[in-house]
Subunit: 345 residues, 2 copies
C-alpha cells in the first residue's frame, strides 16, 4: 500500500507541503490559481491518493460510522443498513460493518473495534435482551459504549437502550413503538376475527419480541378478548417453522379458526411454510400475521398481514440524520388474515 505522498507532490510542484495540502484537500484558504494548477498537475502525474488514515490522525475525526447488525443478509437488517448507508453518504462518511452472532459479548468486540478506529458514531441495530446469560455481556457492552461516548463518540441504538448503559451524552435511542403498533394490530384483527388468538414469540427476554407480545395482549384485552397463548421459539424463520410444525395437528383437530401472530415477518413465513405441507391453508384454516413488512416478502402469497416499519428511516435516524421524522408504523391487513367468503371455501 505504498502510494505517493503529499510531500512528493509538493516537491514535484516545487511548493511547500502546506500549500499542496491547501490545494488538494479543501482548506478555507485558497492559494493562487497558477500555483494550484501546478500542484494538481503534479498530483495527477503521481497518481496521488490522500491517505485518509493520516488525515484522520491529524484532525482526529475519521469520517467513519460503525454499524453493528446480527446478520447483514437478514432483510430486516439490510434494510436498516441501507438507511444508515444513505445517511453516511449525506454526511460524507463511510460505513464500517460488523456482523455479530447476536451476543452482547460479540457486540462489545465490535464496538471496541469501532472505537479503536475512532468512528465518529456507532449504530447498534441488534435487538437488546435481558436474559440471564447475556447479563455479563450486556454490562461489558454498556461499559464499552459508555467509554466511547465519554470520549466524544455518538451512539444510535435501534429500539431499546442497551441494558445498563447510563444515558450519557451522545447516546441516542431510536424509539420504535413496537408495543403500540402490536396493540393496534391486535385490535384490528379482533374486529374481524371471533376465534382464539395465539402468539408465536421469540425467546423471553428479547425486548423487541416481548414488547410486541405485550402490546398484542393489551390490544386483545382492549377489544374485550381473552389473552392469547404464547409459544416461545427462535426469533427467525426456523423458529417460526418449528412452531408451525408443532401446531399443525392441533389446528387440524379443532373446528375453531385460530389467528396466529408471529412477532416478525420471517417467523410468520416460517409458520405458513410449515403449515402448508400439512394441509393447513392460510387463511382458510387459520390466519397469520407478522411484523416488520419486509420488502422482499411483499410478493409472498397469501399476502401477509403485518405492521409496516420504515426500516430505512430507522437506519437513517440512528445514523444521526436530522431530517428524518420520528418513527411510526402502520398496520397492514392483507389476505393472510382475511375471513374467506363462503364461495371461496
Amino acid at each position: 500500500m505504498a502510494a505517493s505522498t503529499l510531500s512528493e507532490v509538493a516537491r514535484l510542484a516545487g511548493v511547500s507541503l502546506a500549500t499542496a495540502s491547501r490545494v488538494l484537500n479543501g482548506s478555507s484558504r485558497k492559494p493562487a490559481e497558477d500555483i494550484a494548477e501546478r500542484v494538481r498537475e503534479a498530483a495527477d502525474k503521481l497518481g496521488y491518493v490522500p491517505n485518509a488514515q493520516a488525515q484522520a490522525l491529524a484532525k482526529s475525526s475519521s469520517g467513519l460510522i460503525g454499524l453493528v447488525v446480527h446478520d447483514i443478509a437478514d432483510p430486516y437488517f439490510s434494510a436498516i443498513a441501507r438507511g444508515v448507508q444513505e445517511a453516511a453518504r449525506q454526511q460524507n462518511r463511510m460505513v464500517l460493518l460488523a456482523s455479530t452472532t447476536g451476543t452482547p459479548a460479540d457486540e462489545k468486540e465490535a464496538v471496541a473495534a469501532f472505537a479503536a478506529r475512532r468512528a465518529d458514531s456507532i449504530v447498534i441495530a441488534g435487538s437488546r435482551s435481558v436474559r440471564e446469560e447475556d447479563k455479563q455481556g450486556n454490562a461489558e457492552l454498556a461499559a464499552e459504549l459508555d467509554r466511547y461516548c465519554r470520549n466524544g463518540g455518538h451512539v444510535g441504538v435501534v429500539g431499546h437502550p442497551v441494558v445498563g448503559a447510563t444515558a450519557a451524552e451522545g447516546y441516542h435511542v431510536v424509539e420504535v413503538p413496537n408495543e403500540e403498533l402490536a396493540a393496534g394490530l391486535a385490535e384490528q384483527l379482533a374486529a374481524s376475527h371471533n376465534g382464539a388468538f395465539l402468539i408465536i414469540a421469540g425467546p423471553e427476554g428479547l425486548y423487541t419480541s416481548d414488547d410486541r407480545v405485550r402490546g398484542f395482549q393489551r390490544g386483545l384485552a382492549d377489544a374485550g378478548r381473552p389473552a392469547a397463548e404464547v409459544i416461545r421459539t427462535g426469533f427467525n424463520r426456523a423458529g417460526g417453522f418449528e412452531a408451525g410444525k408443532a401446531l399443525a395437528e392441533r389446528i387440524k383437530g379443532s373446528s375453531d379458526r385460530l389467528c396466529i401472530f408471529a412477532v416478525n415477518d420471517v417467523m410468520a413465513i416460517g409458520v405458513t411454510a410449515a403449515l402448508r405441507p400439512e394441509g393447513v391453508w392460510i387463511p382458510r384454516d387459520a390466519t397469520v400475521a407478522g411484523f416488520d413488512d419486509i420488502e422482499t416478502l411483499r410478493d409472498f402469497r397469501p399476502a401477509l398481514s403485518t405492521v409496516h416499519l420504515p426500516l430505512e428511516d430507522i437506519g437513517r435516524l440512528a445514523a444521526g440524520d436530522p431530517d428524518t421524522a420520528p418513527i411510526s408504523g402502520t398496520v397492514k391487513l392483507r389476505r393472510s388474515t382475511e375471513t374467506p367468503v363462503e364461495s371461496q371455501l
Copy 2:
C-alpha cells in the same frame, strides 16, 4: 474522540513508550511479566483504546476490506456481503461498505475512497456493463483500480472483469459460470416443456444478464429448440413486473403454454406478481424460472425454479478466502415450471 494515548499509559506505568507498545499490542518480543502487568493495569485504569488509525499509519496496513455493492438491501448483494463479512472476520479485518447507484462513476468514487483509507483489499460485487453510456465511467474505474493494484492493493471482482482493467498483479476475478448454468437450465426445462420459450432480460450490455441469455439460448439450441424471444427490461423486480404486465394479454390469447426465463429471481417474482392479478396462473397458464436462488424467496409459491448460486461463497472467495472452492451452481427445478397433471387443472 479524545481517548487516552499510549504515552499516557506508559507514563502511568513508569515505562517507555516502546515497552508499553510491546506489551499492549502483540509484538514478537515480550517484556518481563511484572512490568507487563503494570502496563496492563495502567491501560485498564485509563480505559486505553489503541488508535487503529495511528497503528495503520505506522505499519501501513489498515486491516480494512472495502466492499462495493449496488444496494445492500438487495438480497443478492446482502448474501454476498455476508460472505465477505465472514472472510473479513477470519482475516481479522473489518468491512467498509459502499453502496453505489450502479454506475461505474459511482463505483470509481467508492474505490478511490477505499484506496484513500488504504483498504488492504477491495471487493466489487456490482455487475459490469459495456453500455455506451458507461464507457467513460468504466475507463475511469479501471484506471482507479489499476492504480490501487499497482500500489499493492488486492481486488476481487464478482462475475466479470471490470471493462478495460489490465490484468494487474493482485487483480482477481471470481468466475461465475452464468452461461453454462443458464444453458443447463434451458436443457432441463426443454426436457419437459414442449412449447415456446421467452426470456426476460436486463438491459443489453449488462454482462450478467447477457451471459445468462446467451447460455439459455445455447441450451435451447442444444436441445434442438428454436431460439427464444428476448424482452429487455430493468434488471430488478420492477422490470420483471413491467414485462409481466405487458405479457399478460398475449399469454391469455394463446393456447400455447409459454415458458418464461427471467434472468434473475427478483425479476421472476416480478413477472409472476404482475401475471397473477391478470388471472394468469403459474405454472397452469405459463411457467417461470429465475436465477440466483435467493434465500428469502425460497418460501414463495409456486416455488421458483432457478439456478442456485452459492452467494456467500462468492463473497468469501472475492474477499480472498483461500479455503473456499471455485464457484459452481446447481439447477433447481421446482413447482413454477412443473407441467400440471390433468387432475390438477
